[in-house]
Symmetry: C2
């Protein structure tokens, strides 16, 4: 069935096609069903809406997600056909019923996710199925491979190092570590995801200063220039399945273990990393317990070995936000502070040096026990900051001051010592205030656990872009009390 494209310029967060009511009825296509849109070699699955007044019967209005992907313009002819119910649905059901999936079955699910054949609700079922039934190591390997193979690869050569932190603790070590390592001559093409369970991912924070969305050929130029990059993996179409899955996981802040492991490893394989440091913070306020951290370490080792990557896991007890800022703009403040060697942000500095040192030792750049020292020398010399500026410049940005969000609320101490700052609750607070979408929103901590303070001294500020969000955030703060006093 041929239809004429009408470019209405709307975006729906997913590929949506609006058909004329009459046409839909005559073709027995219904709202919320899937159709294939085809032009030349391009074919994409879209969800059907039905419209009337603004369309002719032979027209189809497509959301910008489709227009851009298929490079369509007003008046183009496209072919439309009913998409059969994807076979992968039966496989998701199978997993939800507790059965194992084989390589072919996992490939089909992942490829249907990438090709947009599954709706968000169906992806939610897949995530729940993994969450409920788990996956054995073989399934995780298949999933890792499937995620790699449905996306682009960087095909870089050289001593490529990489790091990953299992989220949960705010504070951006990555930009600091990348700057130190690449200043030392290592190749560190860092692709990050946006926030999942935290109020800001590395990509969200870097986007404050520069672009993070590049295609593969642009990225190669950046890496050639600077030995490094700090970008968002999504725009590279590296592991695109993962981005779609994470989008749905975010709704409920879920992150089932098999998907977490496969997702991390797939990204490292796609950039051809040879040495990989994985930081796993554990403890009451982190994402995992010590026992879970050890299980993760074991799983990562098996998986990495299978894919020829030398891996080290760095387990550490972590109890509160590492920096002062929580939220994209507020976190990047901290990063610049550490790199500039001016104001102090001790915890963030120390953690970054430790991670960089471990990478040096892992790839043989420094002797065992000497890595952190080497990292400190590079940071103190200003070479790391110089490298960071180069990276930001290569990514079409500039280091400058940013203001936090319009509306703010200061919170004052209730007593003289802070006993605990609850990470999960501070994260939720920053998210309630609008993070990560509102980059200037978030929480700024003036004090940390153990600090002596004066009664009624300011301990933190909440920032939000709208009055409603600020009100909700303050309400949340009062309800859950993320800061406990002695």
């Amino acid at each position: 069935m041929k239809l004429k494209v009408k470019t209405l310029k709307f975006s729906a967060g997913r590929p949506v096609a609006i058909l004329h009511k009459k046409f839909a009825e005559n073709s027995s296509i219904h709202v919320d069903e899937r159709i294939f849109i085809e032009k030349g070699k391009n074919k994409i699955a879209a969800i059907v809406d039905v419209g009337k007044s603004f369309l002719d019967e032979n027209e189809i209005a497509l959301s910008s997600e489709i227009i851009i992907l298929m490079k369509l313009k007003q008046g183009d002819n496209v072919n439309v056909e009913i998409a059969p119910k994807p076979e992968s649905l039966m496989l998701i059901q199978k997993k939800l019923f507790g059965k194992k999936l084989n390589e072919k079955e996992i490939n089909l699910i992942i490829s249907d996710i990438v090709k947009n054949k599954l709706t968000e609700a169906e992806i939610a079922y897949f995530i729940s199925a993994i969450y409920k039934s788990g996956m054995v190591m073989k399934e995780i390997m298949h999933m890792t491979k499937a995620i790699v193979n449905t996306g682009n690869k960087l095909n870089l050569k050289g001593k490529i190092v990489d790091k990953h932190s299992i989220g949960g603790i705010p504070g951006r070590t990555t930009p600091i570590v990348v700057s130190i390592c690449s200043a030392a001559g290592l190749l560190m093409p860092k692709t990050s995801s946006r926030a999942i369970t935290s109020p800001s991912g590395t990509a969200d924070a870097m986007e404050v200063l520069c672009r993070v969305d590049f295609n593969v050929s642009e990225l190669k130029k950046i890496i050639k220039k600077t030995n490094a990059c700090i970008v968002w993996g999504g725009s590279l179409n590296i592991a695109p399945a993962d981005d779609k899955i994470i989008h749905v996981e975010k709704l409920l802040n879920l992150d089932p273990k098999p998907q977490l492991i496969a997702s991390i490893m797939a990204k490292k394989i796609s950039v051809n990393a040879k040495y990989l440091l994985i930081e796993i913070p554990y403890g009451k306020n982190a994402k995992v317990s010590k026992r879970q951290a050890k299980v993760l370490e074991k799983d990562f080792k098996i998986l990495a070995k299978n894919f020829g990557i030398k891996v080290k896991c760095f387990l550490n007890k972590s109890n509160e936000p590492i920096g002062n800022g929580v939220g994209p703009v507020l976190e990047i403040f901290d990063v610049i502070k550490v790199l500039k060697r001016k104001d102090k942000c001790y915890k963030l500095e120390d953690k970054s040096l430790e991670l960089s040192g471990k990478i040096f030792e892992l790839c043989g750049k420094a002797k065992k026990g000497k890595g952190k020292e080497m990292a400190r020398r590079i940071l103190d010399s200003g070479a790391a900051f110089k490298k960071f500026r180069e990276i930001v410049k290569a990514q079409k940005g500039k280091i400058r001051e940013y203001k936090p969000a319009k509306y703010k609320k200061d919170i004052y101490a209730e007593n003289k010592t802070i006993k605990e700052i609850k990470t999960k609750e501070i994260n939720n607070l920053a998210r309630t205030a609008g993070c990560p979408l509102d980059k200037r929103a978030g929480v700024y901590l003036y004090k940390h656990a153990g600090d002596k303070i004066k009664k009624r001294e300011k301990i933190l500020t909440i920032y939000a872009e709208s009055k409603i969000e600020l009100r909700e955030a303050v309400k949340y703060y009062r309800k859950v009390k993320p800061v406990r006093f002695k």
Copy 2:
């Protein structure tokens, strides 16, 4: 924030609001977030799309789901505000993590579903959570009450009887049973849902002959006239939460037990049923095993007692489709055949008489063991068919002949005896052919298990509205072979 309504006449299957890109950016509202639309006392949550060319900055385009619910017209002013992330999300997460929910928490989730505050993906998580973690009887009671209280009630008086079949076996007994019971003077206001795991629900099948979508006051007139009705529960806003949940369950043909029980019971409470017969087919080709059927029976008894309903569960082994037709039009063919006393459709007739008889015995209309006899007398006398015509007429319809779908494929016998007809696979076949949305699609069985047949005799016909669907259905038939020969 005030915006002017633009009625674009599009429907998205969920409430969608398209905002101008500039306005959205300035208000820090993003695609896929939720906003509240408010006018007078009406307030509804919608999902945000963002558009440009066809909207002014101060305009908002609303999907017909919102336009109709809020009775809006072009140029109306509405108030728009950002909807905070619903609290119920945290509760869904809690359930997914295996914790119990209390009454207040279940009320909040159900009321957020009804108020449209949750997206389909979020509802999918809730269904998965129930599926994964189950619910204790107390939770099921709370959920039943919540589903009743968020919807309309019929408030009828009298000896109200009702029946329910736990789906899975095609063949429509309900229209026949309602006709027999109401012909005997009982009050039987039957509300049905549309298909969940089968290719056609009672409402889908009745809709072939007459309207099934009425509001409560229209319905009361129908019942006053005929003592009965056979309508779709959805349009009555009886147990609306249930309809929304079922819509998402359908994607994966799921039907977790706690939701199944609460949903059935809620609908019966809402129509004030006093006597309730629940048919539970079990066996290899039914939805549940014998053991599961007995557990269901126990649960239903506890729940019904709690709500003052006299219940009888009728467990029977059921191995293949009861009628010949599978699909809305094809199933209603069978119903009319039985009521007219012309062509025979033995199994469907016998099952309908058995169910009607049990209802007579349950409410004291017939003595124990004498119900079925009484039912047969009413059917044979023509009183049931007369009553059915009255009901169809009161529901603004007429009994007439319908043709099945355009495209068809006959399937021939491979051998002389049919050993088994697999119900689940026949259901999937009919769904692949386009059921329940394409009413004339489906499967027509000429033979049943045990029947002697000639080699190459026609055993069934597949009907579909499009060549693609027919091709997919035939492919499915050849792959799974739903009919096994000796």
